[in-house]
């Protein structure tokens, strides 16, 4: 038996496998037993109804996909009245994800979702299709610190801060979020990109720019997880491009305590549970009694002297 539990601050998850916000809803229960997941992560909500961006909302890339959904939402009231009770038909803890255009509204939204049924508040300050002054606070450490401090004062619940890989210095943002009192970091949201349809000469998606996700982003995000894990003490949740057991192991070795996955749900709706089973099997085979022991276990020595390395056997 492998102990699959992981601790993120004062929240214990029965395993480190979570869906990513925007790729998950209780509708996934059509194809899988969602009670087996470490936590359920709701789609980002904002205060008012938002229609979202014009379709097409996704396109395929060489390395994954690009999307610009535009955070459509039925608004906070609908979320609390209908979606939260729907999530509570299932057993894993509920992570509610919130977004707002201003720090004032972020603070108010935090109070609004501070209800007993919501176990964790994930703060989406990193939607790549928003600008730094209007929701994409994670582009700048001052914005991040300011908004996260306001949120921290508004709730005693665990607050997970979702960072943007588009920021110039992600480590500075991570430190700002920690200093402001975030309980954990989710690294990361999607990477801003552009795909052009060469038949029509127009952008391939309706909103022109969109967020890249899928396997191509993984090495970039694993690097960010590692850099941030060296700079902060709070737990990190790795997110980006996970499609197999080995990807989860890599994220954990880099310093992640748990992971979230979006793209794999589109490709293989049974993938998250297959990865969960596979991860336990991997730990068992490698002699790990606790999956949590993988966190930060990457051997991080100074590089070898070049002649010595070039004379060494191939690993």
């Amino acid at each position: 038996m492998v102990d699959m539990t992981v601790k993120i601050g004062n929240v214990t998850l029965k395993n480190p496998i979570m869906p990513a916000s925007g790729a998950f809803s209780t509708e996934l229960a059509q194809v899988m037993d969602i009670n087996r997941l470490g936590a359920l992560v709701a789609k980002t909500v904002s205060r008012e109804y938002r229609i979202g961006n014009p379709p097409p909302r996704v396109a395929e890339l060489e390395c994954g996909m690009i999307n610009s959904i535009g955070l459509p939402t039925k608004g906070i009231e609908y979320f609390l009245e209908h979606q939260v009770p729907d999530y509570k038909r299932f057993t894993p803890p509920l992570v509610g994800s919130i977004s707002a255009q201003t720090a004032d509204d972020f603070e108010a939204m935090t109070r609004d979702v501070d209800v007993p049924e919501v176990d964790v508040i994930e703060v989406n300050i990193s939607c790549p299709t928003r600008n730094p002054g209007g929701g994409n606070f994670a582009m700048h450490e001052d914005h991040t610190f300011n908004v996260m401090s306001r949120i921290r004062k508004a709730t005693a619940k665990p607050v997970w801060c979702k960072l943007s890989p588009n920021a110039g210095d992600v480590v500075a943002i991570a430190k700002a979020a920690e200093a402001a009192g975030a309980d954990a970091l989710v690294i990361a949201n999607t990477i801003l990109g552009l795909k052009i349809n060469i038949d029509t000469f127009r952008p391939a998606i309706g909103n022109k720019y969109g967020g890249i996700s899928g396997p191509g982003v993984k090495p970039i995000i694993v690097r960010m997880v590692h850099q941030c894990s060296k700079a902060v003490k709070i737990p990190i949740i790795g997110c980006g491009g996970i499609v197999k057991v080995e990807d989860v192991v890599e994220y954990m070795l880099a310093g992640a305590t748990a992971v979230m996955m979006g793209y794999i749900i589109f490709r293989n709706p049974s993938g998250m549970l297959a990865i969960l089973d596979g991860l336990e099997e991997w730990c068992r085979k490698r002699g790990f009694a606790r999956v949590a022991d993988l966190t930060g276990a990457m051997i991080d020595e100074p590089p070898m002297e070049t002649f010595a390395a070039a004379a060494a056997p191939i690993r």
């Binding site: 809803s25 059509q30 899988m32 979202g52 379709p55 909302r57 999307n67 959904i69 459509p72 490709r267």
Partner: protein, 287 residues
């Protein structure tokens, strides 16, 4: 787990099909390809062995297919295809599709004995009211594939079916044999201009006058949908349309597949994958 990353289908644990669990209506499954033949130069007919759960598919529902890559690159998104025939006794489901881009070209490379990874059955299918004695289905191109199972189901229930099949020319009239088995086929073609909206309108008005149109079903052409919508409104005939949109998850969470609908003058977005693909004809907007 090594092949998960490659275009090879993800092996989903056990090879035995899981028992039907009523609370999990759809599944990801690997289906052996039984046959896969060209119908004409653009369309292919794919027959796969289906699990018991896949066989619960209803007319108008669809599967999301993980197509092999046709080239050196990777395909990242599934391709939705509606069910074309449900062979309960033979344990098979069939698809009829047009090769249009990388996904369908990749799908076309599958050979008998290969395995296809499918997710489904998905979405809301067609509704057949027991009071209807005669229905009219009007489809163009691959839309006919979507309309075939409801026509079969209707005929099986003793309902009269008139199938107006629109295509470029004779070679592209799909599945007329299948429709012929279940009802009256009226081919309308671009080649002799019988597919012109005015002519199709004359045919539909004739069917309405002859009391052979208790309900309308359409798929595959915006032009024909607008025609049917107008006539259905004028004559108080209930109608259903199967719609398409680019998808990612095919299951509801991602909100990629939205289309515009209008109810009492108010526009709203609905997800084709879970609120459709079949919608009320009068609420569909189109272009």
């Amino acid at each position: 787990m090594g092949d998960v990353f490659a275009s090879a289908p993800f092996i989903v644990g056990k090879s035995e099909p899981p028992p039907i669990e009523t609370d999990i209506p759809a599944e990801e499954a690997l289906c052996p390809v039984i046959s896969h033949d060209w119908v004409n130069e653009e369309y292919k007919h794919l027959v796969v062995a289906a699990s018991p759960k896949a066989l619960t598919v209803r007319p108008g529902q669809f599967f999301n297919l993980l197509c092999p890559s046709p080239d050196a690159g990777e395909l990242w998104l599934r391709r939705p295809q509606s069910v074309y025939r449900i062979d309960d006794a033979g344990g098979r489901i069939e698809f009829l599709y047009k090769c249009v881009g990388r996904g369908t070209r990749g799908l076309a490379t599958l050979k008998a004995g290969d395995r296809l990874n499918i997710v489904g059955p998905l979405g809301v299918g067609f509704h057949l009211d027991p009071s209807w004695r005669n229905i009219v289905v009007l489809g163009r191109g691959v839309g006919l594939a979507t309309l075939a199972p409801i026509s079969q189901l209707a005929a099986g229930c003793g309902v009269g079916v008139t199938a107006i099949l629109s295509a470029r020319n004779r070679d592209f009239i799909m599945a007329d044999d299948l429709f012929g088995e279940v009802g009256t086929v009226v081919p309308v073609l671009d080649s002799d201009r019988s597919s012109d909206v005015e002519n199709v309108e004359r045919i539909l008005l004739g069917l309405i006058a002859a009391k052979r149109a208790d309900a309308f079903f359409t798929c595959g052409s915006n032009r024909l949908m607008q025609l049917m919508k107008r006539l259905a409104r004028q004559h108080g005939i209930p109608g259903q349309v199967a719609m398409e949109q680019v998808m990612a998850c095919g299951l509801g969470p991602c909100y990629v597949c939205v289309r515009t609908f209008e109810v009492n003058g108010r526009k709203e977005l609905r997800r084709v994958c879970i609120e459709g693909p079949v919608f009320d004809l009068q609420e569909a907007v189109g272009w």
